[in-house]
């Protein structure tokens, strides 16, 4: 039986690779941008996995905070500072909720991972999302300070996030070049779930673009489809 067919049915976790091309934790964010294959090696080999994963997660938090700042300036500095916490919180909480699913979906999909490898994979997806969000943060800032329309900015932010998500999916596709991840369908399906959970988490921590009436967020349960639909009922931001 060849190796591919072994992998397609959920084979045992391969032994660690020699790790010649594994970047150190301090260089892993640069590697994610310039040489994603090196990060794939970290995930596949398990070498520096926890250190690298922690750095990637920290980077993801910072990147999402910066994007939150740019986006939140739509509602003024108080909202921007609030979004510096809310946006990374949304991303990290969504990842935590979906972490068991990542582990199981990867195994079921034929790419068995250890918990540590799953952690690096999740953190690298989030860090890559954050990187693209930071890259597009100036665009978000430009529109956030030059428009009064809540629906427009909501659509713009969702569009920017979708662009970032497409790069993360591209990163998952790159995983397939490695023998461990020939079957990445499970991981791609997991990313779809992560996207839905992120949207619901953003709904849970609403509002993101305007100042809440009291406290940090609006209470009350709401489904994300209803929430994003309702943003079109408030065409202009409240006067400060």
């Amino acid at each position: 039986m060849n190796e591919d067919s072994m992998m397609s049915s959920g084979s045992p976790i391969p032994p660690p690779l020699n790790g010649d091309h594994v970047p150190k934790p301090e260089n892993i964010v640069t590697a994610l941008l310039k040489s994603p294959e090196a990060v794939v090696e970290v995930i596949a080999s398990g070498k520096n996995a926890l250190g690298g994963g922690a750095v990637l997660l920290a980077a993801a938090v910072v990147f999402h905070a910066l994007f939150g700042l740019a986006m939140g300036l739509f509602g003024g500095w108080p909202v921007a500072l609030m979004d510096m916490v809310k946006v990374p919180l949304t991303a990290v909480c969504a990842l935590l909720l979906c972490y068991p699913a990542l582990y199981v979906f990867a195994c079921v999909g034929g790419a068995p991972l250890t918990f540590a490898r799953a952690f690096v994979l999740g953190a690298s997806c989030l860090a890559l999302l954050g990187l693209i969000l930071v890259g597009l943060a100036p665009v978000a800032w430009l529109f956030s300070v030059s428009t009064e329309s809540v629906p427009f900015l909501t659509m713009l932010v969702v569009f920017i996030w979708a662009v970032a998500a497409s790069f993360a999916v591209g990163f998952i596709a790159k995983l397939q070049r490695h023998v461990l991840f020939r079957q990445a369908t499970g991981i791609k399906t997991w990313f779809f779930i992560l996207a839905l959970v992120t949207l619901q988490m953003a709904t849970c921590l609403r509002p993101m673009l305007v100042k809440p009436e009291a406290g940090w967020w609006t209470g009350g349960k709401m489904f994300f489809l209803s929430h994003f639909g309702s943003t079109f009922d408030a065409p202009e931001k409240p006067k400060r």
Binding site: M1, S9, G10, S11, P100, C107, G186, I193, K221, F224
Partner: protein
Amino acid sequence: MPLPVLLLKDREAFWVRVRNQELCWADLIGLAAFIVLACAIYGAVLAGWRSPLLVSYVAIKLPVLFLGTTILVAGFNWMTASLLGSGLSFKATVFSVFAAMTISGWILISLAPVALFFLLSGVPGSGSHDELRYAHNSILLTHIVILSLAGFGGNMALLKGLRRVVLPRCPAGSLFVLWVVAFAFVGCQMSWILRPFVGSPFYPVAWMRPDCLERNFYEFVFREVLPYLLTGSK
């Protein structure tokens, strides 16, 4: 390694054991226990928005639904496997189906936190008629997506497994289709009898509906759903 874990991390080894008839009936109990646990956990989340009483009901009913359906189609599965020349024993056919359900169980357990989060953050337990209907539909949609993913994952594992364990002359794809159709046909009726699962806000919480044995799922589809879809009115 316990069989449910083996199925998650090294399915090839599991199918080799099925093919070599190395599994005994006692091993099946381990798989059944895992399926019961997984279905009970997800069942509790499934009904979580309605009432604690329904939570306990569905935590019992969901394992009954899955295992009951499997038992009802076990004989048919073995006969079709024999007729198509698979070379599978009755025990091997049962293990194959339980393997698929174990994979589905893993997916359900892994997504239980996600379903619970949607339940806690997105579904109000009270409100106007329209709000409750929207809440019910939202949580129903969430569960349909999750259960579909679990079903798809389990079935794909079953298909790949069958291709490994049947004899070369047996059309594994046809056998798989027959098994899935039989399971779905019986499963729909079982779920109809055992309803409610999610729990409509407009009906009282009950172990089973009073009319559960008065008509079947397919009568409902052909007499009420299809005419509604075709004419736009009841």
